[in-house]
Structure formats: structure tokens, C-alpha cells
Symmetry: C3
Subunit: 374 residues, 3 copies
């Protein structure tokens, strides 16, 4: 042992933790509202284990606390920066898989082998709520995170409806997906073999903006049902060859939900307004959660009001819908690449683009309201 030998006494820096995972200026520039509820994952994704996922630019870990309630926090262990999502659950606490620091739902360190954790800095948490079959998070100002502000989904709470869905990760701005869903003209081209039909192009589209939603609707009366809807008619116990009245009513609401009422009714029975017995109707459910400025998590599904006990039909529809939505992926990701290549090019805004354009306007206003000086 030389004179240089010494016992090391570790000290913790005064300011060991900065709560802000990204600077305010970065956040101000983000192209999404921060103060809103976004779908983060499905309940099965956090069953018994943590899940790492980036939501609105925030790298989060999601898990369930001891009471089973969901929690979300920065996916960054305050000890050495390891991702907490590589850890495991123990009695409702999230244990870091590197050195065993256990974190509680509140973002406070609970215990660590051989350490007093009382002075450990807290980790930034995000409000998380389980509702309607999804885990929702609020990425922005946590004091404003009010579950009452969550979009209401009546079908998700009713026994008269059945639901099935899935998730895709898509490398494009979430607003390109909003555009896509608020203009179903593309069904004729992208989804020619399932839900596309030439009458979509021919039927005029109407767009209107209300206080809290943008609605784009199209009605096609007296048409043949395309393959997907023939399957649905069979599922609903109706003749698949019948002439039908078809409708599409796309509803955008903040921050980035698109609910599309779609269906076919036997022709002349009232269309959208027809009796349930004379129609196969459903809601295409789209939760579009930004990941980065050029990628998003796309939660898609279908809620239907016919044959709700037919689990096999739920699977068939999920498979069909998954295939249809996968057809959009390459188009959207290559469109994104093109827009990045030519950032200064202006695009056309046609009548069919009004739904997307109005939705973007609603998004822009929400962002502006958040960043406005008070």
C-alpha cells in the first residue's frame, strides 16, 4: 500500500438528476400535443413484466404496481442509467436488472441491497390509466393529467359490442396516418382486393369541423359489397350478394384518434340509419401514438355491433383488417421518405384531403395553446 492508497467515500452530487428528459425548446418544437391521453400499450404487454416504449419522444417504462394499476416512468435507472425495462417486477416494484435498485410506482426508490435509498432522486413519472382495454399515458404536464379528459368510447363499455385489434410500428409522422384515415379514397387503390371499390371515388366526400372533432363522410347507395364486407354480411347472417348502401364516417379527435363508422345495410333500409338487423356495421378504431417525429405506434382495431359472441369472427376480422392495414405501411413509409427528401415541396390540398387538413389544423391549434405564454 502506498501513500496514494485510500478508502473511497462515495458522495452523491448535489444535483444528480434532472427531471426533464428533453429540453423545453425541443418539446416546444414537437409536432404533437403533449397534454393529452395517448394509448401506450395493451394490458397484456405489461402482464407481469415491464415494457419499454417511447411515447411522444419520452422513453418510458410501463408496468403494473402492486395494486395492479398501471404506472409509467422514465426508462432510466437513476443509479447508472440502465434501462429499467430490462428489469423485473417484485411485489409491485420495478427492480432494475443491473444492480437491483427497486423503484415504486411513484418514481421513488424503494430499496437497494446494501444502500439507504432515502436520498435517491426520484424518477420522472407519467400519469397512466387503464381504460377501454388500453393503457393510456399523459406525456406532458403531469398536474394537468385528468382522466376525465379522456376520449369517451361507449362501445368499449357495452356488451352489445365486440372488439379485436392489433398494433403496428410505422416509420412515418403520425399525421400522415391521420391524413390516410381521414381520406378513404385510397381504399380503391391501396386496398383494391378487400374494401376498395370504384364507387368510393365516385361518391362525393363531405368534411366538417366541429368543436371537438373533424368529420369526413361518404355514402354509397345501391352498390355491391367488396370482399371484406361480404364476409361481414355473412358474419351478420345477411346475404352477401345483396345490393347494399355503404357508408364511411371518419371522426378525428384530439390528440390523434380516428374512429370510423363503417358499414353496409341492405339497400333501401335506411343505410346508416337502418335497423341493426338489416346491416353489418362497425367502428374502425385507430389510436395513433407518436413515437418520434418520423415514427408512431399504430393501434388499430374494429368494434362491431353484430355477432358479438362469435370469437372466430373476431379473429377473422382481425386477420383481415391486419392485412389491410399492412398494405398501407410501405406507402406511408415511402411517402415519409419522399417528404424528408424534399422538405420544401408543397403538396396539393384537394377536397378529399380536407379531413386530414382540418385535423392537422386542430392539432396545430392544440400545440399552439400549449406553448402560448400564460
Amino acid at each position: 500500500m502506498t501513500e496514494d492508497t485510500q478508502t473511497f467515500t462515495p458522495t452523491r452530487d448535489a444535483s444528480v438528476h434532472e427531471a426533464a428528459p428533453s429540453s423545453d425548446s425541443e418539446r416546444a418544437a414537437a409536432p404533437w400535443p403533449r397534454n393529452a391521453w395517448y394509448v401506450a400499450c395493451t394490458p397484456d404487454e405489461i402482464d407481469g413484466k415491464p415494457l419499454g416504449r417511447k411515447i411522444c419522444g419520452e422513453q418510458m417504462v410501463l408496468f403494473r404496481g402492486q395494486d395492479g394499476r398501471p404506472a409509467a416512468m422514465d426508462d432510466f435507472c437513476p443509479h447508472r442509467g440502465a434501462p429499467l425495462s430490462l428489469g423485473f417486477m417484485r411485489e409491485g416494484n420495478l427492480v432494475c436488472g443491473y444492480h437491483g435498485l427497486a423503484m415504486g410506482c411513484s418514481g421513488r426508490a424503494v430499496d437497494m441491497p446494501g444502500q439507504r435509498v432515502k436520498g435517491f432522486p426520484p424518477v420522472r413519472t407519467y400519469a397512466a390509466v387503464e381504460r377501454y382495454g388500453f393503457i393510456w399515458v399523459w406525456p406532458g404536464d403531469q398536474e394537468a393529467a385528468d382522466p376525465a379528459l379522456m376520449h369517451h368510447l361507449p362501445w368499449a363499455e357495452s356488451a352489445e359490442w365486440a372488439y379485436g385489434g392489433g398494433r403496428y410500428h410505422i416509420a412515418c409522422d403520425y399525421r400522415l396516418m391521420v391524413d390516410n384515415l381521414m381520406d378513404l379514397t385510397h381504399e380503391t387503390y391501396v386496398h383494391a382486393s378487400s374494401i376498395g371499390q370504384k364507387e368510393i371515388d365516385e361518391a362525393p366526400v363531405k368534411t366538417r369541423a366541429e368543436a371537438d372533432e373533424v368529420v369526413t363522410s361518404r355514402f354509397m347507395d345501391g352498390v355491391q359489397a367488396p370482399p371484406f364486407w361480404r364476409m361481414a354480411l355473412r358474419g351478420a347472417g345477411l346475404p352477401e350478394d345483396a345490393v347494399v348502401d355503404r357508408w364511411q364516417i371518419c371522426r378525428f379527435s384530439l390528440p390523434s384518434h380516428v374512429m370510423i363508422e363503417v358499414g353496409v345495410a341492405l339497400a333501401g333500409q335506411g343505410g346508416y340509419e337502418a335497423d341493426d338487423a338489416a346491416k353489418a356495421s362497425s367502428i374502425v378504431v385507430d389510436f395513433i401514438t407518436p413515437e418520434t417525429e418520423t415514427s408512431h405506434h399504430y393501434f388499430w382495431g374494429m368494434a362491431r355491433k353484430f355477432a358479438v359472441d362469435d370469437a372466430a369472427l373476431t379473429d377473422t376480422i382481425r386477420e383481415g383488417q391486419g392485412k389491410i392495414f399492412s398494405e398501407d405501411l410501405e406507402m406511408l413509409e415511402r411517402q415519409q421518405a419522399n417528404l424528408l427528401r424534399y422538405p420544401d415541396r408543397k403538396l396539393l390540398k384537394l377536397n378529399i384531403d380536407a379531413g386530414g387538413a382540418r385535423s392537422r389544423l386542430m392539432i396545430d391549434r392544440a400545440i399552439a395553446a400549449e406553448t402560448m405564454p400564460e
Copy 2:
């Protein structure tokens, strides 16, 4: 419906489209002549479907119009920026696969479901010509695109010649490929088992620059033919074990074509000048089309003047040549990586490098002439 409700009337921005896909300053810096004919693809690549390909930094879509003539334009739908190359052909028009905008060869919108397209902005087009078994495009000033300026390839129009070839995408500056082909010394090392032989290193190389081409030649008299040429001798009905006179005459011409006359003749029959009956001779055909500053499309092939009706021989040669050229890929791509790593290092210019050096000088002069103020 609230007061905020309204019907959306779409308007088209005054300047919705900028014809220039990249800024002039970017273009001035590009290391290739823009006003020249480049091979873009082979005819089969646009049979009945569009092809997306970046040529000289321009993201193009290539297709055939109704008259069968090739066309090229920006691969960017003026509606929403989708790549037109994901679309399909309909009666000689290119239909965007997203929302159905149909574009004519002239770059003008032809029709779109439910839209008046007359006022749609045109898309930038590129002159395209089918000749010599290739589709050629002119990426630069379209008013200067004169088919008469195209390199003349007599062998491609003569029944006395047969041709076979292929294409590689290579992640290196196209000029590294020019260097490679204008100095065949590397055959001894890179292609030791097929066309390399030690006499290549021993034979002196001569380089001369003429008005419109750079020529590097090497003659090896009284040698044994390496494996590739033994195969060719057999194909030509000559004894593969014979002592031969071998030649290599590399001809570079603008913008980036390298035609290499190669062959072997029975020794003492005049070598390059020998009667066709006493030799197996051919032209290695290389069209080197820049994609980006560090990648290119390499169209390679061999035109031969012996056994021209022997389709099986064409296949055998194509396979052998494809294998030989694939041996260059790793070397060129790793050389490129090294040059990017050390951008300031100067390289040696030996006599064997004269062909490449003179070719680059010709390229530089062509670029300078294009960017000179008039």
C-alpha cells in the same frame, strides 16, 4: 353542430410545386456531368410496371407510355408526395397507387377520380430513350437532351455480335469503378482464378487521351490463356491449350462508359489484328451510372463476335463475368469506406493509374464546362 362548424373549401396554394428536386448549389457540386445520357435500366425492368431508381441524385420513376416509348419523371406524386413508382400502368399512364392520380408521359396529370386535374402542377420529366438494349436518361438541362449525342455502340446494332450482361448496385463513388476498369492490373489479384495472370503485371501499359476518349492498352504475346479465356476459346471452336496473344484495350468515354476490347488469338496470327477465325474477341461493356456521391448502378456485360448464336454460351459467359465482377464489390466498397475515413489523404498516381486519372480529368472538364457562366 357548433358555430365552429363549417364546410371546408380546399384551395390549392399558388406555388404548389417546385420543379427543382434539388437546389442549384447542390447540383453544381455533384461530381458527375449532368448533361449526358446515362443508362438507367434495362427494358425488362419497365415491362408493364413502373420502376423507381435514383440516377445522378435524381429520384426518378421510369415507365413506358402508351406508344411503348420510355418516360422518366420525378418519383413524387404532386398530390401528397407518394412515390409514383408504387403505382401501376393504365393505358400508358402512370397511376399513383395512393389516391389514383394518373400521370401522362409529359409529366402532366391526366385524370383523378372526382377531380379536375387541369390546374395540377406538372411533374419534372427527364428525356428517356430506348437504344442498344438499354433505357437511357438525361438528368440535366432537358432542352439540351439530344439523342444524337448518345455514344454509338456499333456492336449493339449488328447481327455479328451477341450480348449478355447484368447489373450491380455498388456503394462507392462511380469514379472508383472507372479507375478499376481503366487499370486491369488488378485482375492478377482480384480475379486470380478466372482472368488474372502474372503476364498482366509484366506487360507495360500505355495510356493516351484523345479528343473524346481515354485509351489504355496492354498486349501480352505468347502466353497461356487463363480459365475464362480457355472457356472462350472452347466456345469459339479453338484449342484451349494453345499459346495465345492476349490484349486489353480500355476505352473511357463521357460521361462514364468504359468499353474494353479484350481477346486472345492463336499466337503469331496477328493478335488483336488476327482473322476472326483465329481468335476469341469481345468487348467488356461497362455503363457506370452515378446514384449518389458514394454509390452507383453498374451495368456490365460482354459483347462477343464469336459463336453468336450459342445462347448457352451467352449464359455461361454472363455467369462467369457476373462472378468476376462481384469479386470487385467488396474491394471497391471498402476502398470507399477508407477514403471517407481519411478524406485528406493523397493517393499515389502510378503509370498504371494513368487511365483512371485521365478519365477523371475528362470528367472534371465536362463538369466545369457545365457550370461555367455563359
Copy 3:
């Protein structure tokens, strides 16, 4: 032939080669000592062929000269910049695989077909030494490269010890691996099924810094051996179920070696000090060679003093150790990603982190000493 025709006389530029592969300023900023011996590869990696590897930011080619001694130089052919590591060995010279330039161990061109190489610029070389079963290089000031400065490894020269090991490429700062190895608390979590046990967390850790090493030690008396050590006890001919005294003594030395004395002795026989017959003891050997600022080559192994002639046991241990170390990879690489994502976040420094913290301090002092003006 036009007037423009001429014969090209190649000239070599006055300053064709810059010896420095990276600027001095870049080097000053590198987070590793440059004047030190690092393990570059194992002897088998350069048996009869060159090896390209980046060491401390320097892209090197390693090979054996005619006398069998190792050599290292820039992996950049002075002719056209091809990687020399794509070449081959011929009579102790490294022949470039592109055009045949042969380089000697001294970094001077030896010959090239048809060329006088006397005036060719030399390539930068690096001192290379074979010792202890490894090839070591000195990336910094070559005049200071003294083999006597190499870390001494007695076990590597003794017949009483056996050694087996492997190599991983890991995408993280080499110092994160130093942290990892100087705090074995993580065994409980990352390596729960092999060497982890709860007593590790419970036993206090002591760290001390000496003149040339940092030592972190932990002793666990009267415990059950975890699976890896049960195997070792069996290999040493001792009862695997016995209660044991276990120890871990981690020794960091510059530039980035971590030797960890580990073992178990039958309880009450003196632990670390027990007779060889009553213990299974070994040294975990870790040479951590920076590649870039966010990646390193990790040479790991185990030297053991029991059952040294049991080659099958060497293989079993290597396999077990390789599996254990592979468990660290994802954690370290994702930790690195997290630190890059939040470069300004400060981390905790607990007592268990003292070994890594003191080692980093030793590294920082070595770097500062190198960059100090003289």
C-alpha cells in the same frame, strides 16, 4: 488521334501521404490513454492471414512478418487507399489484394509489379508484441513503446495455471465495462442463474486505490456455492455441496485491464488464503480494448490453478463464462444508448460504484498526463 492526344506521364505528388490518420485535436479528445499496450487480437487471428481491426480509433491491419513476429500498420494501402487487410501474406510481406503492392513489417513498400517502390511513402506502423498468449499493440507515440511497460501476468507464464477465453465486440464505451467489472454486485441480477447469489449484495465491498491499481474486494463466508462454482468444485475434486468461503478481488490497472481473483474454499480453511487443495480459485481475465468512443473489443477469459490438465474442463468453463458475459451485453449496450440519449444526466455514485469511479479517475489522470504540455 487529335492534337489533344498525348502520352500520360504520371507524377507522384510531393506530399502523397499524411502519417496522421486522425488529427491531433481528435486524439487529444479521445477518452483513453494512447501510450499504453492494448490487446489487439489472439495469435490465431493472424495465422497466415492479415486481420483488419480498429484499436483506439486507429484502423489497423495486423499480421505476422517473415520471422513470425507480429506487425501492425494503417489498414490503408498508400497506392489507392484499399484496405490492406483484404490482401494476403507472401514471404512475410503483406500484399495488397487490389494491385499487388507488397508492404514489409516496417511499413515500407517492398515491391510492386512493374513499379519502382523506393520512393513510395511509408505507412504508419504501430509497435506490436506477442506475449502471454495475446498480440498487443501500442497505438500512441511509437518512440515510447517499451515492452517493459507491459502489464505482467505471472499466471500466463506458469505451468501451474490453465487458461481459456474468448472475445466479444460490444457497442459501448469501454469504461462502462470497467464499471461493470469493478462492481460485481450485478452478478446477483444479471447472472442470477450461474454466479449470482444474494450474499453478494449483503457482503460489504471495500475499494482502495494504490499507485498502479484500484482494488475492490468482497468476502462471503459460510455460503453455498452458486452453479458455476459447484462445477468448479467438482472440477477441482472437491464436494460441490460443501459450505464455502467465497471471495472476489477485482484489480484494475491501466490502461483497461481488470483481473479478478475469484474462488471458493471449503469453509473455515482460510478462504482466499486456504491451501490450494481446499479451494477452487481462478482469475477472471479482462482486457478491454477501446475501438471507438462507443464500442470496444472485450477479451475475456479465466486462468485457473486447479485441474490445469483437464482440457475438457477448460472448454466447459469457457462455455459457461462466455454465456455469463453474453448476459452483460444487452444491458451494457442499452445503458450506452440511454447515456447517449441523455448526455447531461448525472448518475449516482454509491459505495458499490467506487471501484469504477476510482478506475476512471486513474484513466483520466493518464490521459491528462499525455496531453499535458511539456
